[in-house]
């Protein structure tokens, strides 16, 4: 059954899997030499101009799979030679223009940027055009198209521009590492750095969990990901890889919700702190709202902190859909608790690198968190959980939440809140809790997901309903 959405993901996966094989076998030094010809084996090019370029690009992917450029603080990197240097003209009139007489494009353009030549065909004056796109909307022939790079289009925080050589370039001061460009680039020319080698090292050095115990903390979105096998077998596969135990990040979400409710009631206005890209976005683009970011560390960090407190020598790897988590673990407030991060793509590559046959594995269990902790994975879940938390703790506070689905909705809510707070304080804002999710749909739309299907939300809800613990207090009563 199909594991990935796109062929780009599949290619990335093959490289990760091969690198993992070499690492497990202990002959990693041969990987950069041997893998390119292993993956691009024939003499006929199938993706680029020739097999030599294809192999060179695979070489770059191997470098990223092995951790990438250690001097670059960002975890998202451009593979320069893989970037196709897509056209970047912005709005342009195509030859579908019929030279009609209505001239809706001219009438709608507030900047007077549209003119007509002797054939009555429209032209856009690039000095006047502000790229508003109205002309394209009104043209009855759809003759005006927007030539924008998919990466630039995907990057709603505007961190991507083109360099002098027309290759995409990432502004680290704006980038939130959400990974939208990674998933959207049709050439796979932007990738998240992988820490699979660190994880393999952690597995090896634990010597079957005798030197220390290696825990996997898995994100609740896992329930929508491995569609070809039951979740229980994936849990078993993670243990088969060498992890001692698999714990739900959702239990950390329960712990966060339990504390976030009272914090909200006390402060009167809060923005959520679960999504690292959303937090980073506020810190970089809305520093005036920084004081309102919830003081809770994320569910991943919360549960990891708990594990490290009960088992101080343990090592912890977070497994989730998120590339921004790779940035989050570098933060001072999180780095003591989480040792490394894998995406679901990388987990798939590790499982297959060990030739683990899922269908032969027993059904492992994952049974700690509550319904509310588990639905954090989808947009709106966090707000539901915070409301539930206040109810369970008998705190009388009306949550007026806004659940922002994707970074553009986050921006809108933050802009509005910022303006109102400046003029009339938090009382004037029509909402008091901003749940921000940088990815569309929430974590289930994360860049490190294997699938981004429509069904994913219902899968997450279904998984939530399977929880034994129906309330947050039930799930965490022993932990807090």
């Amino acid at each position: 059954m199909r594991k990935f959405d796109t062929k780009v993901q599949h290619l990335k996966y093959k490289v990760l899997r091969e690198v993992a094989r070499y690492a497990f076998d202990g002959n990693l030094e041969r990987a950069p030499l041997e893998i390119p010809t292993k993956i691009i084996s024939g003499t006929e090019a199938t993706m680029r101009c020739c097999v030599y370029k294809e192999r060179a690009i695979v070489g770059e992917r191997i470098a990223l799979a092995m951790g990438g450029d250690r001097n670059n603080p960002n975890v998202i990197e451009v593979l320069n030679i893989a970037c196709d240097e897509c056209p970047v003209g912005g709005y342009e009139v195509t030859n579908a223009c019929r030279g009609c007489i209505a001239h809706r494009c001219e009438d709608v353009c507030k900047k007077g940027a549209i003119t007509f030549d002797h054939n009555q065909k429209a032209h856009i004056d690039k000095d006047k055009c502000v790229e508003c796109g109205m002309c394209a909307k009104v043209c009855p022939y759809n003759a005006i198209s927007n030539n924008k790079r998919p990466c630039e289009n995907a990057c709603k925080v505007k961190a991507i521009s083109m360099s002098d050589t027309k290759v995409a370039s990432i502004d680290n001061d704006k980038c939130t590492a959400c990974g939208a460009c990674v998933y959207q680039c049709p050439f796979g020319a932007i990738m998240d750095k992988s820490y699979i080698l660190d994880v393999i090292d952690l597995i090896k050095k634990s010597e079957n969990n005798t030197k220390y115990k290696l825990y996997a903390v898995v994100a609740p979105s896992i329930s929508s990901q491995f569609t070809y096998a039951p979740l229980g077998q994936i849990i078993s596969a993670i243990k088969e890889l060498g992890f001692y135990s698999v714990v739900e990040a959702a239990l950390g979400a329960d712990m966060v919700a339990y504390k976030e409710g009272p914090e909200l009631a006390e402060k009167g206005f809060l923005t959520s702190s679960c999504c690292p890209a959303f937090v980073d976005y506020i810190e970089k683009s809305f520093p005036q709202l920084r004081e309102f970011i919830s003081h809770n560390i994320s569910p991943m960090a919360t549960i990891s902190k708990y594990i490290k407190e009960t088992d101080p020598t343990s090592k912890i790897v977070f497994i989730g859909p998120c590339t921004a988590k790779k940035m989050e673990i570098k933060k001072e407030s999180v780095s003591p608790y989480v040792d490394s991060v894998l995406t679901f793509e990388e987990l798939q590559a590790l499982i297959d690198s060990r030739d683990i046959e899922l269908s032969e594995l027993p059904l492992g269990v994952l049974d700690n968190a509550s319904y509310y902790g588990r639905i954090f994975a989808r947009c709106g879940g966090l707000s539901d959980a915070v409301k539930e938390s206040l109810k369970e703790q008998n705190i009388d506070f009306e949550v007026k939440s806004v659940s922002c689905d994707g970074i553009e909705e986050c921006r809108a809510a933050l802009l509005k809140a910022s303006a109102i707070i400046k003029s009339s304080g938090i009382e004037g804002v029509p909402y008091n809790f901003i749940e921000g999710m940088a990815c569309k749909g929430g974590c289930i739309g994360g860049a490190g997901c294997l699938t981004h299907g429509e069904k994913n939300k219902s899968e997450v809800d279904k998984y939530g309903k399977e929880a034994y613990e129906k309330t947050i207090t039930d799930a965490i009563k022993i932990l807090m």
């Binding site: 135990s245 698999v246 594990i307 700690n368």
Partner: protein, 80 residues
């Protein structure tokens, strides 16, 4: 006295949640909240026989049905 109850997946399935509830109730009813600290832990690797519970450093395997006897003997009994 610290009583640690495993809430890892395997013990969870064997009813650690019920044991937690029962112990919390018994501790409160007997007015021992100041003397007994109940804590959760993840798998301690001893899950074959039942739910792993430790009192200070001594390990026990419980089922929800044994909880009351365990409380009387190992918690209340030792504190007396």
């Amino acid at each position: 006295m610290t009583v640690t109850i495993c809430i890892g997946s395997s013990c969870h399935v064997k009813g650690s949640r019920l044991i937690v509830e029962e112990l919390q109730r018994l501790v409160a009813e007997n007015g021992l909240s100041d003397d007994v600290e109940l804590k959760g832990t993840f798998c301690t690797g001893n899950c074959v026989k039942g739910v792993c519970v430790s009192v200070d450093d001594r390990l026990y395997s419980l089922t929800p049905d044994d909880t009351k006897d365990f409380f009387e003997k190992e918690i209340k009994g030792r504190l007396a």
